[in-house]
């Protein structure tokens, strides 16, 4: 009963993801070390290979949270909730890392820790929304109800994140954040470490999500065994 499709997929792909992350991480480290040193910014510019990658993983995590939450409400199967919870927890981790690495870079390049640039603002709001989904879950006594509340919140949060971006963009005074990739802001020799960094962050977050799902499904199995124990299985 607890061995549903998502749990099986997580269990199957976790070792593959974990194994592929080993050589990729090594390659990533070598590429970053060998990447050309920025003439103006110096060593601090190498955060470029870490910081946006964390953001990709954070956005992906929230997308998964929202979609899995919607599926949970629609189908009512616990496996979707396990996915939503795992993606939210891993997402909040990457979002936090992104928010920590950003200001370090900002201080080094712009001379200040924070700017109210659209992308920064949206990422900070995303962090608050993530925190709220996790809080509403833990502040609700019945876990199934907490899961539904978190799902509803995720469903409202996702479009707001997109809207937010456009609204802030619409009214912004000036943006100092580097522009999108297709506008070619990456210099020679920066493409590969950037790309591999993004791949490592995304695979890494998927790996952690898979681990988290396994923990949750093991917990569900354990709880079921306890409930079915001959003594009535009351947990105290």
């Amino acid at each position: 009963m607890h061995e549903s499709a998502i749990d099986r997929t997580a269990a199957r792909f976790r070792p593959i993801l974990g194994l592929s992350l080993v050589p990729l991480s090594v390659a990533y480290a070598v590429l970053v070390m060998n990447a050309p040193l920025d003439r103006v910014q110096g060593i601090i510019q190498k955060i470029l290979y870490v910081h946006p990658a964390m953001a990709f993983a954070a956005y992906l995590g929230f997308l998964i949270t929202a979609v899995a939450g919607a599926l949970y409400l629609w189908r009512g199967e616990e496996q979707y909730d396990r996915l939503a919870l795992a993606a939210a927890q891993v997402g909040v981790l990457f979002c936090t890392l992104n928010i920590i690495t950003g200001p370090i870079w900002g201080k080094g390049t712009w001379g200040r820790w924070w700017s109210w640039d659209p992308r920064l603002t949206v990422t900070m709001l995303l962090w608050f929304v993530y925190i709220a989904t996790l809080l509403v879950r833990s502040f609700t006594e019945d876990p199934a109800r907490g899961a539904r509340f978190a799902a509803v919140y995720g469903i409202l949060g996702a479009p707001v994140m997109v809207l937010n971006y456009f609204v802030i963009e619409l009214f912004r005074g000036r943006a100092i954040h580097p522009e999108n990739l297709e506008q070619g802001s990456l210099g020679d020799g920066m493409g590969w470490p950037f790309l591999v960094g993004a791949v490592v962050a995304i695979l890494g977050s998927l790996y952690l999500i898979a681990c988290r799902i396994e923990v949750e499904s093991l917990r569900a199995i354990w709880l079921q065994r306890r409930r079915e124990a001959p003594d009535g299985g009351e947990c105290t």
Binding site: V136, T140, L156, L170
Partner: protein, 221 residues
């Protein structure tokens, strides 16, 4: 639709008899204006026009949080919320009734706050009163729709009064941004700006539709 009208009528009659929610919101809103007034050094008041739109919306937002927290607290007495959840209609209509009641109460508070605000900060809102009401109303629609949905969630968590702003405020930023911008342009030039009004309309629609659909699951046990 029957459910919608019944819930709206019930909420407004209850509010009219007790008046506790509107009074609490109003007093809180006026106090917020007062606190904001004193959070600025006397000398800085030369640029009131610049900060007024933002201050006004801060007062609206915080007083709506106070009111929304009460909106479902009344349903907990005698477990009336279960009585509502038992209604054999689409629960979205329960949401719509409660959200509209909240919207009407909030609008009244917004009006009184604006009058008080205008007197304290010496701003004459009368030439733009109708257009300002439109902007305030558009902002209030978004506030009351997600606010009603999240109040129904918050009321059934621990620390309910704390939970509501934690859920609500991060999602209100696009509404606040557009509403403050629209208010500022309006006060400055007397013209309604297209962009912010259009974004407010889009956000209101998205919030209202999603809240209507998901309310069903919020009332479930």
């Amino acid at each position: 639709m029957n459910t919608f009208a019944a819930v709206l009528w019930k909420d407004l009659v209850t509010e009219w008899r007790t008046r506790d929610r509107a009074v609490a919101m109003l007093v809180f809103s006026l106090l917020t204006v007062l606190v904001l007034r004193f959070s600025h050094p006397m000398g800085a008041l030369a640029n009131t026009d610049e900060i007024a739109p933002g201050l006004l919306w801060v007062a609206y937002t915080f007083s709506s949080v106070i009111g929304l927290n009460r909106a479902f607290a009344t349903e907990l007495e005698n477990d009336a919320l279960s009585g509502l959840a038992l209604a054999p209609s689409d629960r979205g209509w329960i949401f719509a009734g409660k959200a509209l009641a909240n919207l009407l109460i909030l609008s009244g508070v917004q009006f009184a706050t604006a009058v008080f605000f205008g007197l304290l900060f010496d701003i004459d809102f009368t030439p733009v009163a109708g257009r300002l009401a439109l902007v305030a109303g558009l902002g209030a629609v978004g506030l009351s729709s997600v606010g009603t949905l999240f109040a129904a969630i918050a009321v059934r968590t621990r620390y309910r009064e704390v939970m509501l702003p934690l859920l609500l405020l991060p999602l209100l930023i696009p509404i606040l941004l557009s509403a403050v911008r629209a208010t500022a342009v309006l006060l400055e030039s007397g013209v309604l700006p297209d962009g912010p009004i259009r974004t407010l309309l889009v956000i209101d629609a998205v919030f209202a539709i999603l809240s209507f659909i998901t309310f069903e699951y919020v009332l479930d046990e």
